[in-house]
Amino acid sequence: MTATRTRTPAPAAAAEGRTTYRDAMREAMREAMRADERVFLMGEDVGRYGGCFGVSLGLLEEFGPERIRDAPLSESAFVGAGIGAALVGMRPIVEIMTVNFSLLALDQILNNAATLLHMSGGQLEVPIVIRMTTGAGRQLAAQHSHSLEGWYAHIPGLRVLAPATVADARYMLAPALADPDPVLIFEHGSLYNVSAELPAGPGFPGIERAVVRRPGTDVSVITYGGSLPKALAAADDLAEAGISAEVVDLRSLRPLDDATLGDSVARTHRAVVVDEGWRTGSLAAEISARLTEGHFYDLDAPVERVCSAEVPIPYARALEAAALPQADTIVAAARRAVGDPAPARADTADQRPTAGRPS
């Protein structure tokens, strides 16, 4: 794990106005802790090391060990501790290194955080925010690269957010902390170094809604998180081919903003869902099903899905790239949807479910 850490010196604020996703996230936590003394950060290496991905770099110095707490290597223990703290009125931010490790805390998240309000007859709120890294693309191999946020989106009682832009990284945390129920924030590992101009606070669309990142008329490319930049790149390519793609960023994976998705598809009549999770039983499957249920008579083509190949994410760079949704596979899917098949791509890896073991 340590070998692959990306440590960057903390640029308190990069060039004027521009900031990175990582810095935006840090700034959000800093702001939250300044505003509310009940807020504290807990997780593996968040303090002295500055966070596995450098998100909390410098916070220990600013807020001290009481509020920036290094936790032992037991996800179940420190997530459980965070839930306990939330139950007694604190506003914990718990950082889990990657979504793969969150499985060790799944019992706490599902059986406690997501259910206590219900089990207690509404007496026990669990205002915890759990942040974690997700996704592939950095050659971290099969135990650090999976996209399991779709699993969490399956669970009633949780709110699941996937900030894909610097602005969302900056502004989603505050409403997440304000939510009296557990909120999971999935930060795609490939986004931390993305930098962008940070818009001013007002105009932030909240955490309930999906947002059209790029308007278009021919096909809706629906995605979230780390796949958003790929979808936008695909939309550029499609535009050159005369296909106007609308890119919709889900932002909230649970609950899903059916209205925005539906409105988009009602305009374009075609949908491509891009999801870095595996195709089978995926969030993309859920979206496809909802579009079919709610907008059957708007659909002019089968809903296309671009998902990860159904294999453990490979380590080798070329194989990893081939296993993930990419701009060109999104372009191909969009062309299929609009019935304008491009020079065919031989690669259909993302088309078929495959077993983990070649059969």
Partner: protein
Amino acid sequence: MSAFTMPSLGADMDEGVLREWLVGPGDPVRRGDVVAIVETDKAAIEVECFESGTVGRLLVPPGTRVPVGTPLAEIEHGREPAGPARKDTLKPGTRARPAGPEPGKESAGRAANAVDSPARPAPEPSGEAACAGAGPLVRHLAQLRGVDLTALSGTGPGGRITRADVEHAPSPRAPRVRATPYARRLARDLGIDLTAVRGTGDGGAVRGVDVRTAAQGADVRAGAQADAAARPAEFRRESEQRTPPAAPAEEHPGRRTDTMRRAIAELMSRSKREIPHYYLATTIDLTAGQTWLRRINRGRPPADRLVPAALLMKAAALAAREVPALNGYWRDEGFVPGTEINVGVAVSLRQGGLLSPVIHRADTLAPETLMAHLKDLVERARRGRLRGSETTGATLTVTNLGEQGVESVFGVIHPPQVALVGFGAVVERPWARNGMLGVCPVVTVTLAADHRATDGAVGARYLTAVDRLLQRPEEL
């Protein structure tokens, strides 16, 4: 081997939709068997096979619109079916037409039949009779799945319809069009028939853009063609027996009428545009006819009684024999006399529109036979169950608006025919004869004739002949 082709079911028919196959590959057929149902702009028509043999491949799937003359199926002549074709036993209504020229015998037989059994079995294949060989399970399944047992050929012992036959029977519903949901919605909103839209999507799927294109095309073409294609798939008896397809069901009757209206409009416009009509009329004393009718109707049950219409029809047909210049067609090269006297009968439909089924060689039929034919044809025309041979070949048309109460009708000739005979109501009028005034039943007979083919004198001779014939009804 020969081909069974899309027949021309009327001079104005260029193409038709093969709606349903009543036979399958391997079925023996005999000349005159009804093998398919074809939908024209006007009606769904049972089409007969003109050869005997065995059905080979079916070349055109149901629901396809093809031009007249397109091969629809192969007929193999290797072996003649031994007994009567199975269709005969399955479908009491679809009797083979006489193959040879023995009209007298045949018509006598039919007449006797008609007279003997007052409750004539409906010409429609009745469900019970057809299902006689099918067990209750099969019948239940058929009803459940909306399968018409009469259209199935059984594979069980003795041609019995088995459960598997029903389960493998094609769905009676309209052929499924491969179209996206959006295209379907759009088509419904724009009133476009998907079956007429060429799909450009995956596997020929109709997509939204195809419907839009079709809609634009339809606007330009004033909709005639598109609407002809927009014929509902299910029209005939399905409405009672089968669940019609959900979406366009409510539009059916109106659409059909529209289409027919348009076909009539086209034909009648052509007639008035091309044919220089002249009109003659005469009023005929029908005392002799009425007296004769009263005499022969005495003792007959009401259902079998002859009505004046039969006499008038017979007289009109016989008169054409005397004046052959009115019986035939006007072609580009001139008048072509008809080889037979086939009388088209204008039948008005309750939902509007009209059909003109044909009584072949009407001049050779006894009035009773003529009347039986007339009743049968009118009934079936109104139910949209005419056979191909019954819609073609008319050499002269007769229209009788008497039952509507009018006294004279000046008709529009059905091209390419050259004359149309009209009868009004039989009414009592003061009538002078031999210097004496009396009250007599009279009928006004009119003639609309094509001045290119004949002149007024010919027409006058015709009407005079009708008059003379009606004075000797016993000879009709």
